[in-house]
């Protein structure tokens, strides 16, 4: 019965994805959505990949990392080198970008994940900058002027496919035994260890997977904007991603998606009022944090049950405690 329900909701999710894809793709082909919004739709997808993958590290495993832009940069540059210098197909380049970022995530995660809390945050912040500055000094990839002449391979279809793929993989990972182990690390590391969960392994695993998907996002990014530039991957970018994670709710994938869509959209909609943009954006964040400190979704997922509760009007008592 339960299995049947799961299959049913899987099919519904698939249908919903296809419908969204069909609608937006039609609107793009018929030019209802102009180039400006096309660009922002691609950005939304890239941001969803970044936010969901960072949420795996920060929200689900509870390791406060703020160096995500660094891994995105690795993906952007590695994939660009593969397509431009080695003429590999795009899909191989994306895989290469993900592999590169994942490998670096593993190498960095192993020593740094012994730290926790503020210390880990500072270490990852520093590592993100080290990656950026290293790239800045490699003339093979263009140094300070950036890596130019990258072909535009990313379009709405590529972006959409990889966004769905990312969400699918990470969601399934979280629902598995491994995901449960990651959440137990967040909830109480000592208890998790006493239960036989190899806490170091899961911290490094979550970090590596998160980094690899940041690499995917980076690959899509550089192959949309023709250029990979160190200035695109500063710690401000890491903070942007982190903001979306916190705003959507640490430990909620649907929250991450909503926040990525909402913030990218608002940021784009305000593009024509540059002098007001940061003020409105910041105000929105302040107000949201005042009234929803746990993020839009807390650690809950958006589900049909939740929707019917809203529309049905029957209010259930919250079980959220302490």
């Amino acid at each position: 019965m339960k299995l049947l329900q799961k299959t049913k909701s899987d099919i519904m999710a698939l249908v919903a994805c296809l419908a969204v894809y069909a609608i937006i793709q039609t609107l793009i082909l018929t030019d209802v959505i102009g180039p400006f919004w096309q660009l922002n739709i691609v950005l939304i997808g890239i941001n969803i990949i970044l936010v969901v993958s960072l949420n795996l590290i920060n929200g689900f495993t509870g390791q406060f990392s703020i160096g995500h832009a660094g891994f995105m940069a690795i993906g952007a540059y590695v994939s660009a080198v593969l397509t431009v210098k080695f003429q590999l197909p795009f899909i191989a380049a994306i895989a290469g970008g993900a592999l590169g970022a994942g490998a670096l995530g593993f190498a960095i995660g192993l020593p740094t994940l012994r730290l926790n809390g503020d210390y880990l945050a500072i270490a990852t912040l520093g590592l993100g900058e080290i990656i950026r500055i290293t790239i800045l000094n490699i003339s093979y990839v263009g140094g300070a002027s950036g890596f130019m002449g990258i072909p535009r391979y990313t379009d709405f279809t590529w972006m959409f496919a990889f966004t769905v793929f990312t969400v699918f993989v990470i969601k399934n990972f979280i629902d598995s035994t491994h995901g449960r182990a990651c959440i137990s690390v967040r909830e109480n590391e000592i208890a998790a260890e006493a239960m036989g969960v190899d806490t170091t392994k899961y911290k490094v695993l979550a970090f590596t997977i998160g980094a690899a998907f940041a690499g995917v996002a980076g690959s899509l990014f550089s192959h949309y904007f023709y250029i990979a530039h160190p200035a695109s991957f500063t710690f401000m970018k890491s903070f942007d991603i982190l903001t979306m994670v916190v705003l959507g709710g640490l430990g909620s994938i649907s929250g991450s998606i909503t926040a990525a869509v909402l913030l990218t959209f608002v940021s784009a909609a305000l593009a024509s009022y540059p002098e007001w943009r940061m003020i409105i954006y910041s105000l929105m964040l302040i107000i949201l944090m005042l009234y929803r400190p746990q993020g839009l979704f807390g650690n809950k997922e958006l589900s049909l049950k939740m929707l019917s509760r809203w529309t049905g009007g029957k209010k259930h008592g919250s079980t959220q405690g302490n």
Partner: protein
């Protein structure tokens, strides 16, 4: 041969010498208790056995195998399960999910289900609250959950760290009678307690710790009757 034999272990927290040559023996089927004041090294001993801390020197033999310095998850695999001090349930997970994590290292779905029923049978209050978030349980219920969670790994020996901490006297009694029950169904128990009176009343054997050393050991009943212990730990 003893099931668990802690042999002359020395454990340090940085420069602090916390355990100075502790030796403890636990035979199969026994309840053994470590008692002593704050800072005596009781919890440190447990945490060293379960692999959360590594001894600098000394051996910990479990069924003929030296487990000193092994990774915690491998020690759990061998059949040693710890209920950590202060319960440490996974607050944002349901009772059911907490128990599931207790069986984290097992893959025999059917038997896990049976063990879960066994835990619910032993702790009916948890059964009533199986869908509730663990953080919203009362202190006593959380202690029961922590014990149930440890039982889910089917331990051969259960390490209990201060199960009476912060609980009302009536609940303490209930918890101790459950500990005795668990022991009677075949699980060996190593119990760390500040509540020496209660601990000695259910244990077979006891060790008295003071500042990282064993200063007294012997039959629990005899220790409970001895003048020295009564003065120092049982309040006259």
């Amino acid at each position: 041969m003893a099931m668990l034999k802690v042999d002359d272990i020395n454990v340090y927290y940085g420069a602090i010498h916390a355990l100075k040559g502790i030796s403890v023996e636990v035979n199969q089927g026994e309840i053994v208790t470590l008692i002593g004041a704050n800072g005596a090294g009781k919890s440190t001993t447990l945490r060293t056995i379960s692999g959360l801390l590594k001894p600098k020197t000394g051996q910990i033999m479990f069924e003929g195998k030296n487990i000193a310095g092994m990774a915690a998850q491998n020690i759990v695999k061998l059949g040693i399960s710890q209920v950590p001090e202060g319960r440490r349930v996974f607050a944002h997970m349901s009772v059911l999910e907490n128990l599931d994590l207790g069986a984290y290292l097992r893959s025999d779905t059917k038997e896990i289900k049976a063990d879960m029923d066994m835990v619910f049978g032993r702790f009916p209050r948890l059964a009533e609250r199986r869908g509730q978030l663990a953080g919203t349980l009362s202190g006593g219920e959380q202690q029961m959950l922590a014990m149930g969670r440890a039982l889910m790994s089917r331990p051969r020996i259960l390490l209990l760290d201060e199960p009476s901490m912060g609980l009302a006297p009536l609940l303490v009694k209930e918890i101790f009678s459950i500990v005795k029950d668990i022991n009677e169904t075949g699980t060996t128990i190593l119990l760390v307690e500040q509540n020496a009176h209660m601990a000695l009343s259910i244990a077979n054997k006891a060790y008295v710790l003071e500042t990282g050393r064993v200063i007294l050991s012997g039959d629990a009943k005899e220790l409970a009757a001895s003048e020295e212990i009564r003065k120092a730990y049982l309040g006259g």
